[in-house]
Symmetry: D2
Subunit: 351 residues, 4 copies
């Protein structure tokens, strides 16, 4: 069937390629004419403007918008102005699901169907396919299902879940109608929240391994830091790149994120050049706020988000406050120079 794609960055372009490879017809537009030209050379129908783009679509028109969340709203409005009853707009970007709920409601007044599709798969998606989480009306989902089926990975080499048999369900092929508009990005949001938690679990665990030699090192144990107790139990010089590789084979925590970790550590064992200032996109934040809204505890997901904030030194003022308190109640940092052997006791007792 036919699809129109607005936004030909890596993701948009690769989705178009998968669709064309699967026999679908694609009309494409991007503000960058070169991007259009490149895909046209591969068989897509290029367009020179949004008007030209919509004009080349046949009804019901299906437009996939694949652009940064910050400008999605504006572009969806522009596209919608050119569409009408029974047409479909798909937002495949990383929008906040709340925007979907609002947009879908507004567009439905004009008969336009809005489908949000959360998309996971990264740079490997062109080859492997993308995991697709869709929200929207039954009509819209049914209409675009052939497209989703092509973009999704299919079953691949992944074993069928025990107990499932008969015809393959959509979720076994890598796409799912999660519910009404917003449900797709909601599920994608939680997916990314979980991803933060898993990444943090690996990072914390590897950090412990990396410090398993604490008993071998000169540790900071000034009067202000507790010395390592029982150093005889921390004498291990663990090769973390090898351990990450090992766990890929038969262990309970084998996973795609572990594959990536093993690859990263193998190519750069000391992680040279990485400052460890970890970015976060919106999904982790939205997940925590959703948990708070519905009253569900999410300490692991929240902790993984807060660690990223702290990695960017956003905990600085809080830490200064702690130091300031300690200075107040114990005269910490201000030990008298000629103190006798009890100076440590003085310090500690202050607390």
């Amino acid at each position: 069937m036919q699809l129109g794609m607005v936004g030909l960055g890596r993701m948009g372009a690769n989705i178009v390629r998968r669709l064309m490879h699967g026999g679908h017809e694609c009309v494409v537009f991007d503000t960058n004419p070169d991007s259009v030209k490149n895909l046209a050379a591969e068989g897509a129908t290029g367009a020179e403007s949004l008007e030209d783009f919509v004009g080349k679509l046949t009804g019901p028109k299906v437009v996939w918008v694949m652009i940064p969340a910050s400008i999605t709203g504006k572009v969806v409005d522009q596209v919608a102005a050119l569409l009408g009853d029974a047409d479909i707009i798909i937002d495949g970007g990383n929008s906040n699901y709340r925007d979907d709920v609002r947009r879908a409601k507004k567009l439905s007044e004009r008969g336009i169907h809005y489908v949000d599709v959360g998309t996971s798969g990264g740079v490997f998606g062109l080859e492997r396919g993308y995991c697709l989480m869709a929200g929207g009306s039954d009509y819209a989902f049914d209409t675009i299902e052939p497209l989703l089926k092509t973009i999704a990975p299919g079953t691949g080499e992944i074993d069928r879940t025990p107990g499932r048999n008969g015809e393959l369900a959509p979720e076994e092929q890598g796409y799912l109608h999660c519910g009404p508009s917003g449900a797709g990005h909601f599920v994608k949001m939680v997916h990314n929240g979980i991803e933060y938690g898993i990444m943090a679990a690996f990072a914390e665990g590897l950090n412990i391994l990396d410090n398993a030699d604490a008993g071998l090192r000169e540790t900071e144990h000034s009067a202000e830091i507790a010395p390592l107790e029982e150093p005889e139990y921390y004498q291990f010089d663990i090769d973390t790149p090898k351990v990450a590789e090992l766990w890929r084979r038969g262990s309970v925590i084998s996973s795609w994120l572990l594959d990536l970790t093993a690859a990263a550590l193998n190519s750069n064992p000391n992680l040279d050049g990485l400052a460890g200032r970890v970015s976060d996109s919106g999904e982790g934040r939205w997940t925590v706020k959703a948990a708070v809204d519905v009253g569900v505890p999410a300490p692991v997901l929240a902790a993984s988000l807060f660690e990223r904030f702290a990695s960017r030194d956003n905990d600085h003022f809080a830490n200064q406050v702690l130091s300031a308190m300690r200075q107040q109640f114990g005269g910490h940092r201000e030990l008298p120079s000629g103190d006798s052997l009890e100076s440590g006791a003085n310090r500690d007792h202050a607390e």
Copy 2:
């Protein structure tokens, strides 16, 4: 080569089977004679007592002890009393690595080499092989390497990590010499700590999905509970079994633990019959204590452990204290029956 196995539970017996299948010779012993008989019927050499068992081994004797951690110390002592210089004892159970450090030191005085082997793989290990994390002397590791190679999964169908080429390293075949005695169980301990974190990330995320319909339900919003704000954004009735299945296909969080989750939810979508009182074995605890010892933050791993404690109501007294405090400062629960419209304000202001 030859191995003696003490302890023929499911794990011990399956390891023996993998070894025999790989051409090794196994002498076996268990306090349960039937277990010995069964494996003897499959080709192993059975023994009737520990003395008989050790007598059937040829030097350097290699004994794998595969029994619960709580009795490992006693059995290792019994076995060691029958061994001598250059012989090797392997603890394949889930001992605390601190016990390994102590035992190895003690046994080394008599020339006996002690190897701790952390083993992951679960009920699927017989077929797939076990991921093996070993700690001990170079001599001991080199001696038993042929056994480890056979027990481990090998490369299987798992893609080689980009950048790795040439001869396969041990870790690519699923076993690794992690360091001196204790290092194997230390790495296994952290492995399980990570596992707790990953499991919690999935559980929390699925719980959020399960409550995405909060705006559709009658929620508890007595005077004492904050009502759901913006219920229009929580109108999703998500099918969590389908979502778990979906994420197995092409998503960033695909993993073996997700495979298990999808299988569990598929076979029992509402998780009927599960009380949600979650056990913990020692490794999660030891991991958090190790993090505290070496001064490494592990909020995600700790949170996942504490959630399990709370699932068993070990937070009960703490919660009672909180309720008691609230009663004190606000007269909560004791609102006067004839209160006017301000009763809520009264309540809230109390805090």
Copy 3:
């Protein structure tokens, strides 16, 4: 000066009493005529309707609204419809500061000044005074400052902070102009967020003390639960009510919340009759969401909120998922009945 009070619950009525005691004139209204009658008997000017109420005020009219957050918006609208340029509305309830920002902006179009006043002090406020956090224009704050000064505690018996001297600042008397509209409730919100954290710190610590006798008790240590290691270090039968009382005298953690805890434990040492299902009002939630919005780590405040959620069993599905996963990978709960001594090893290795 003159103040009009709408809402005569315990908080509203007590504020009126403090004001009259301080020489101010109060006009009062409540939907419950008895509440009006009672305060009129104490010297206030009663009103029979909002129109009557506003009619009895002289310009610039100052109206304090002290009602539950859920109906504040509606009542503020009703009052505002009767006010005009340079009049002032005070919201002394527990509104979300975001509502303040919106309301202030809307009312300013008609020249009405909106002041949000976060109020802390609880049931003791009538006697001790209330801590007041105000947000609004300079004009409005300056106008109502005499009222705030009277409602606030003043310096009381509290030592002056070292380094402060000269004339008493407003904050030393218990009230503060925190910034524009919304700033008052923002500061109050964070105040309550901190309160949750402090309460949780006490609750967790007392729970550890309450379990310091773990080595004396028969503990759950089935095959599924890790047994207590080193029980010799957990032989203490701590009297928590006495400890709470003790810490009030000279310790670093002495605080009003500790005073309340000591009182609660003294009156009910075993906390009989408390189910430990801990409510939360909105402020703790809003605080965590604000932290997430501005990218500031708040693991302690978030953990204290999540503990309350879990106390109400909102973690149930998550815990069921964990149990279901464990069942999958280890056959936990399903140990073969005739298992030999290795059954424990089987179990543990599964992970």
Copy 4:
């Protein structure tokens, strides 16, 4: 009565002063002769060696050891060698309660009673008195009770807890027999664990206030960082020193730690010169490990400890691992230079 004090640092010396002020007789020793000389000039009986010191004590001899935990064991052994049946050694330092349990058991073989006294009060203790948590035999506690009563603060100006009446209990005077040897330091340990949690609650809350102006500032919002959503709600320039002062007056979170915070912020509003690298002594760590041992959730106490670890950059390797993973799955940081408008979508979808 008579007390011998070993260790004349600030704490030891001030305790001696309080005791002498209360009419007790003190024999004192320190490796620094000047410390001995100073206290002798104030009325104490100085000693030139441990032998001299013990020789000047009359039976039953009571020796208070007040030195850093790291050398307490050695000095207790030296003192004990000079004592005998029915004599008493008090450890007033910050020892791990586990050491107490072991030492008490060993000393009891020779009839020596060992009392551990956790001491809180800081630099203000000389004037105010110290909160004392004691562990030991009934005989030892009864013997030294007159000393403890003098060192403790007494009731001071603190209101009696409602419901308490009649004769003052020891805990109302600031000292308590918490249980057998080890119980005193156990209670002190948990006290400090709670202190960490309270301090963190204040620090996190003040950090949120300090960032309430996020909507006014140029924030980091490169392609890699989520921009601030709804900046209109973060327009507050809060004066945190004033807020801390305000909360001291009538608010629910008034506390001694808040007093200190207000003092610190008043003297140094921007906390200039504080790097925010927060030390931790052992008690916070031991508290978390005790919670883990007895299976009690302590997420707030653990989070407050982990924040301190992170403030000293002990999270560095973990953060590098996170950055490395993100580089792998999304080509983060490596966006193609000529990317079209979809680059952001590419980035986000990678996750």
